[in-house]
């Protein structure tokens, strides 16, 4: 393993111990998306099979992007950031460490509804769902890290910005209502959300109606991921030292 990768995983281990592997965080990560989805689905005449793609997508989206926005403000506030920046690790490695932490947390939590879905419904392709979970978790974790670039030392400010960005994304991404059923304007708006394409892939895998070829979905999510990573790197390089 190269030295850079080793250092990235030091950051991952640190983040896991301090931020992710806490019972309340894990329980919240599982329960919150589940109840959020139920709240919008109860009373509507939908099958269990129809619910799963939505639950999987929301769990992936929320868990991967939930903690990342709070890490740099928290580390600034607790005065631990300067020590990390004084060690021989680049800002790029720190950012990748944060992204991978969010990815692993999101991936692990999304596997739970995915495994449950296997008992209830037959999937067209397990591999496609798994690939979507991997790519989607990475993409949404990168989005969380991008949100964390806002230079504040108050985690609640960062979480507020995170909610402002993330909640609208859910409602424009065809999670509760399929994109095919949205009005024309809604369809156009849904294209700017990476979650739209993940939901489309998962609906396809569950044998439901999708609106785009899945290779296009994967390509667009991949491009969103690259965009989020590059933006995170550029903004963190600019703002991280200014947090001190």
């Amino acid at each position: 393993m190269s030295l850079t990768v080793k250092k990235i995983f030091v950051i991952v281990r640190k983040n896991m111990k301090i931020y992710y592997l806490k019972a309340p965080i894990i329980i919240f990560g599982i329960i919150f998306p589940f109840f959020l989805f139920l709240a919008f689905s109860i009373g509507r005449d939908v099958s269990v099979a129809y619910l799963f793609p939505g639950i999987i997508s929301i769990t992936m989206f929320f868990s991967s992007s939930s903690i990342g926005p709070a890490i740099p403000p928290w580390e600034t506030n607790m005065k631990t950031l300067e020590r990390i920046l004084s060690t021989p690790i680049s800002i790029t490695s720190v950012v990748f460490g944060d992204i991978i932490s969010g990815f692993l947390y999101g991936f692990a939590l999304t596997i739970v509804p995915f495994l449950l879905s296997i008992f209830y419904t037959a999937l067209q392709s397990y591999a496609v769902v798994l690939l979507a979970i991997i790519l989607g978790s990475f993409c949404f974790s990168s989005l969380g890290t991008l949100i964390s670039t806002y230079p504040t030392d108050t985690p609640s400010t960062s979480m507020m910005i995170s909610s402002l960005v993330r909640f609208p994304i859910i409602f424009i991404s065809g999670v509760f209502i399929s994109v095919n059923d949205l009005p024309a304007a809604g369809k156009y708006i849904s294209f700017i959300s990476p979650l739209t394409y993940i939901v489309d892939i998962i609906r396809f895998s569950f044998g439901q109606k999708n609106f785009m070829a899945i290779w296009i979905d994967f390509l667009v999510v991949f491009l969103f991921t690259i965009l989020f990573i590059i933006s995170s790197l550029l903004l963190h390089k600019k703002f991280l030292p200014r947090r001190l």
Binding site: K7, V10, K14, E82, R83, P88, P241
Partner: protein, 320 residues
């Protein structure tokens, strides 16, 4: 002797405010260099630039002969840093905090375990290794942070206010270990402090900084020699007496004595007088004459060289 740090015309401007202004100096291997100054002088900004945490607005920094812009990570491998306002991770144990640092410096497993045990013992934290840091006292946290800065045995150590606000035992322990590291392992140490006594005891060379500028840079002894006018003559009397108040007037009437004096302080109890002068011995005779004439009994006469604190205040007040 090899140069460890060379900085040339280093300047840092934050939103139009000049925090560090055209600073240049060289530090040789195995030396303890103290950067003194009041709060807001620019000490921490200087250390942050030297450790590569922030970039200078202009100027050059070379550490171990390497330009910091081009060889940042290589330099960071060789230096240890104790930032002024840093904390260890509160939710982790002392051991976990040290291991994070050891892993970031890519230490071998055996080496990191053996060094961590050794330093925990040395800094008196051995029995607390598995305790979470949030239960530690300020002194314990600071000792842990010094271990975190030393775990890779750096050749150059930056300590930003290492003993500020600590209990006496922690201060003594930290100072002793700094000195030992310097003497036994020839570790070069860059220390910022506003504790003059600390700089006087530890440092080979001291720079006094204010408003972003280095006002003077020399050994503590040479600084004291430069400011000989802050030598003093202290005379203590057996009993308090109003007559002591007339000593300044008497000395002023003696032209040859008047020219020697730069300041006079009388104690609140009127039983002692301190005269600042560059020639304390010449003032003893006129004071004795006055005392004899006024029936004052002298209990002691002492002469003092200037303390580093007096030098510091004089430089800061005069702005160099």
């Amino acid at each position: 002797m090899d140069e460890v740090i060379r900085i040339n015309k280093l300047t840092k401007v934050f939103n139009g405010l000049v925090a560090v202004n055209n600073v240049s100096f060289v530090i040789n291997e195995g030396k303890i260099f103290g950067l003194l100054g009041p709060n807001g002088a620019g000490k921490t900004t200087t250390i942050r630039m030297l450790t590569g945490i922030i970039e200078p607005t202009s100027g050059d920094i070379e550490i171990f002969g390497l330009n910091i812009k081009k060889h940042l990570l290589e330099i960071k491998e060789k230096i240890g840093v104790l930032p002024e306002l840093a904390n260890p991770y509160m939710d982790l144990s002392a051991w976990e905090n040290i291991m994070i640092m050891a892993d970031l410096y890519n230490l071998d497993k055996k080496v990191k375990i053996s060094r961590a045990n050794e330093y925990l013992e040395l800094f008196g934290l051995s029995e607390f290794r598995q305790k979470k840091v949030k239960g530690f006292s300020k002194g314990m946290k600071q000792r842990l942070q010094i271990i975190m800065a030393l775990i890779h045995e750096p050749r150059l150590l930056f300590l930003d206010e290492p003993t500020t606000g600590l209990d006496i035992q922690s201060v003594k322990l930290i100072r002793d270990i700094i000195k030992e590291k310097n003497v036994k392992e020839k570790t070069t140490i860059f220390l910022t402090t506003h504790n003059i006594a600390e700089a006087s005891v530890l440092c080979d060379r001291v720079a006094i900084m204010d408003k972003g500028k280095i006002l003077i840079c020399d050994s503590p002894i040479n600084l004291q020699k430069i400011f000989t006018s802050t030598q003093s003559l202290e005379i203590m009397f057996d009993t308090s007496s109003k007559d002591i108040s007339f000593i300044p007037e008497y000395l002023s009437s003696r032209v040859e004595a008047k020219e020697l004096i730069s300041g006079i302080e009388i104690s609140k109890d009127r039983d002692a007088i301190k005269i600042y002068t560059f020639d304390p011995v010449s003032l003893i005779a006129p004071v004795l004459e006055f005392s004899k004439a006024n029936g004052l009994k002298i209990s002691s006469v002492n002469t003092y060289g200037p303390s580093l604190e007096e030098v510091f205040l004089k430089i800061i007040n005069e702005g160099g």
